[in-house]
Every structure is written in C-alpha cells, then in structure tokens.
C-alpha cells in the first residue's frame, strides 16, 4: 500500500475529487494547509498600501491506495489539478505499513474504500 499526499490549489479540490471517484477511488482526507513553493507569497491590501503573505492557502489530500492503483491516482490528480502556472502543488508518495478499519477491525488493502 502507498499513501499519497497531494497538495493542490483549493479551487481544484472539486475537480480532483470527481476525477478520482470516476476511477473508483473514493477515500480521502482533506485539510486546509498553508505553504510555499516556487509561487512564493502574494501581496494583500492593508488599509493603505499592502503587506506580503508568505504562506498561501492550499488543500492537502491524503489517500491510501493499493500499489497498482497509485500511478493511476497520481496521473488523475495531475490532470485535474493542473493550470500550468506556478502554485499548482506537489504530490508525495509514501510507503504504508498497514491500515485498519475502526468499525470492523479489518486490516490490509480490504480497508481501502472502493475495493
């Protein structure tokens, strides 16, 4: 199993979720995060003049998948979240030792929603 952490533009969350469900990938955890990358910060209006914001709001999607589905998910997210401008985000892939479903105590890939 692999865990995908995808940091994307907040406004792309809907498109990414829909594209993943179309491939049968239903489970995900979403958090609001702030971060920076090549896009760096932006300037916002103060009462007179402006101030810099160094960390921009993004959305982080976390999902755990079977190894063979991982590449499909990555391709799907890239396609759905891409604008071509700096600030589209990053995807990280991590190995996962095990997974448990709280309701049934099942473990392993059988816990992954959509399976």
């Amino acid at each position: 199993m692999k865990k995908i952490e995808a940091i994307i533009r907040p406004e792309k969350l809907h498109a990414v979720k829909d594209a993943l469900s179309a491939k049968g990938m239903l489970g995900m955890t979403v958090t609001h995060v702030n971060g920076r990358g090549r896009q760096k910060g932006i300037a916002l209006q103060w009462r007179a003049g402006e101030y810099r914001v160094d960390f921009l709001p993004k959305v982080k999607i976390e999902m755990v998948l079977a190894d063979e589905e991982c590449q499909i998910a990555i391709d799907t997210i890239c396609r759905a979240a891409k604008t071509g401008r700096e600030g589209d985000g990053m995807i990280f892939v991590l190995p996962v030792e095990n997974a448990y479903r709280v309701r049934t105590s099942d473990c392993g890939e059988v816990c992954i929603p959509g399976k």
Partner: protein, 408 residues
C-alpha cells in the same frame, strides 16, 4: 426640563456607549489571531474602569466649578450635589445626571481609542495603570479646557461640537507618544507580515461605530431638534463620502479593499465630529473626502518610514482626521447653522487661528504628559510583556484564554 431633550440625550448615551465595544471589534479584527481577545479586553476593561472613575472624580474634574481655566475643582466629588434637576450651565433642559451619563461615554471611548497603538505587546496591568493616569491627567483637564464652564480654550472661542480636539486629536497624539516609548512589536522592523485575523469583525466594528456616532454627534446638540438633525445628517454624509473616497484610493493603488472602506468611514466620522453642529450639510462632503485623502497618505508614509510601530494607526486616523476636522470647522462654520460659531466662509478668518491654537495646545500637552507617564511606568512596573509571552500571544499569556478553542 424638557422630556424630548431628555429622551434623546439618554438614547444618545446608550448609542455612544456601544461605540466602545464596537471599537473593540474594529481593533480586534486587525490584529493577529493570538491577540484578538487581548485587544477586545483592552476596550472592554476601560469601559468598566473609566465608568467608575468618572462618577467618583472624573466628572467633577472635567465639569466641576472652574479653577483658573485649567481643571474643575472637587466640589462635585462622588457626584455630590449633582442630581435630577438640570445644571445651571450644562444642558439646561435635561436632568444634570443625564448629562453626567452622556459625558461618561465620551471619556470611556477616548481612553479606549489610543489602545490601538499598543496592541500585541503591552502588559495588561501597565495598560490599566496608564489608562487610569491618562484619564486623570490628560482627558479630564483637556475636556475641561474645551467644554468646561470657564475652560481657557472655551473662553478663547474654540469650536468643538462633539470632540475633535478633546477626543480625537487628544487620543491620536497620545497614541503616538505611548507607541514611541513602548517600542515596536517583535518582527515589525524586519517587515514580518502582521495579518489581520478577521476583516468582517473590522467591518462590524466600523458599522457599529457609525451607528453609535449618531449619538456622539447629534446627541452633542444636547437638545432634540433642528441642531441635532443637522448634526445627524452631516455625520452620515461625511462617513459615506470618506468611506467611498478611501475605497477609490485603494483602487487606484490596486484594489478597492473592504478594510480600506471601513477605515475611511471611521476617518470621515472623526473629521465631522468637531464640525457636525456648526457647518452646512453640504460641507460634510469635502470634510469627509479630504479627511480620507490626508489620512490615507499619512498612513502610507507611516508604513514606508517603518520607524514607529503605531500599530493600528490611531494617529493617522484620529490625530490627523481630528486635526483636519477642527480646522475644517474653522473654515465651514456658519451662523446660519448655529449662532454659536462662524468661520472663514462667514468672513471670520480669525476662527482658524483659534482652532489652530486649540489643536496645538492639545497636541503639546497630551504628547508631553503621555510620554512622561509612559516613561515613568516603563521605569517602574515595565510596559512590555516578556519575549516568550509576546510570541505565544497576549490572549494566552495575559488572559489564559484563546479566541477559538477546541477541536470540535
């Protein structure tokens, strides 16, 4: 005794009282989220403290029988002899106690105004100590000079309808002095961004200030009639003109910001304060619009110079807006509105000099006394919180609370 006047003055008193919690939200929304409660608490506690000091000795020091034009004596200590019958010199158609209550709300908000300069780093105990001393040694005497029977600026003929010098110039210049002694917030010199935590709170605060300001200005007519009506519509017009102008200035720079429009409206309210019951209604448009232009560029300059961390620009809003308003009163006042005052447009150019004298005297006195008080407190009890208390935020370090607690 006039029941209409009494009803209006009591209503106005409640309106002005609301302005202090409104100010708490106006300021609270502009600080970082770790200091939201502490900023709100400053205004709220000052409301409690000054209300009590006012009836004990504040009223008599401000409005009691005159001592050499400088301050009231203590013969009305604890409101002795101040009762349900009208005063013979102040608001003669309403109970004396109604006037006491109305004026209490002015003292409260003036003390709360300068807290915008010291947010996010001042020790709470020192803030209260400074507030009590400032109220006693700055607010009461200056209010007596302008509004007290026999006050030296009143005798000079200064026109200050609802507190341009007493409230706004006074609080604005004191804010500057206090911020200079206190020093900047950590990260200020390095240009760290100080993000406002809740701009809707700022707008809510500005809107409630606007609403309360009808009591502030129209209530200052002290009667319920034509003069109150003039002040009422002039107040609304100036706020609107200034809010709109500030929005345009922001737009020229980049975007029409909400924070800017809310700030502009407050600056317009400040500027019309001394003028509201002396000038024709049309004059409220230039008074408000010009106030925004001047305050805006003072704020831009303050931010560029980056020297004094007068954090929420109390001086740029109230000091500068109040100064312009006091001068504008000397320009636009006309006897067709109020027989008590005429200005440049009536051919009375001397009025501008009188206004200038009142502004200068207030600024000099308030700056020097505030600076000395701040230095004295700094040397004794200390003004600032410790570094780690500042980085964790004043909500937790000073009050043991957080604005948004819990995870569910």
């Amino acid at each position: 005794m006039n029941s209409g006047d009494t009803a209006w003055l009591l209503t106005s008193t409640a309106l002005v009282l609301l302005m202090t919690p409104a100010l708490a939200f106006f300021y609270g929304g502009m600080v970082r989220r770790k200091n939201l409660l502490s900023t709100i608490m400053m205004s709220f506690t000052i409301l409690c403290m000054v209300s009590v000091l006012w009836i004990i000795y504040g009223y008599t020091m401000t409005f009691g029988p005159d001592v050499r034009g400088l301050v009231g004596n203590l013969s009305w200590f604890g409101l002795t002899g101040v009762g349900q019958d009208p005063s013979s010199v102040y608001a003669v158609t309403v109970p004396h106690l109604a006037f006491v209550a109305f004026q209490a709300t002015f003292a409260i908000i003036t003390v709360a105004l300068w807290t915008g300069a010291v947010v996010e780093r001042i020790k709470f105990g020192s803030l209260l100590a400074f507030a009590a001393l400032w109220f006693t040694l700055v607010y009461c005497p200056v209010a007596h000079w302008v509004w007290g029977n026999g006050g030296w600026l009143a005798q000079l003929g200064v026109l200050d309808f609802a507190g341009g010098t007493v409230v706004h110039v006074n609080a604005g210049i004191s804010a500057l002095a206090l911020a200079m002694v206190l020093g900047p917030r950590m990260g200020f010199k390095e240009g760290e961004s100080m993000e406002p935590n809740n701009i809707p709170f700022v707008v809510l605060g500005a809107a409630l200030l606007w609403f309360g300001w009808f009591g502030f200005n129209a209530g200052s007519a002290l009667t319920a009639g034509g003069l109150a009506s003039t002040a009422f519509i002039a107040t609304n017009t100036s706020a609107a003109a200034a809010g709109f102008t500030w929005m345009i200035l922001g737009w020229i720079h980049r975007r029409p910001s909400v924070l800017g429009a809310a700030t502009g409206a407050v600056v317009g309210l400040v500027a019309i304060t001394p003028a509201a019951g002396f000038v024709p209604v049309w004059a409220a448009i230039p008074i408000g619009a010009i106030a925004s232009i001047i305050s805006y560029y003072v704020m831009v300059w303050r931010a560029k110079a980056n020297r004094v961390d007068e954090s929420l620009d109390v001086f740029a809003c109230h000091g500068v807006g109040g100064t312009w308003g006091a001068l504008a009163t000397g320009i636009f006042a006309t006897t067709t509105v109020n027989s008590a005052g005429s200005g440049l447009l009536d051919g009375n150019w001397k009025q501008i000099l009188v206004q200038l004298a009142a502004i200068t005297a207030t600024m000099a006195y308030a700056f020097v006394v505030s600076w000395l008080l701040a230095r004295a407190l700094k040397a004794t009890m200390g003004l600032r919180v410790k570094e780690e208390e500042e980085s964790v935020g004043l909500d937790i370090s000073q009050h043991g609370e957080t604005a948004y607690g819990g995870v569910s």
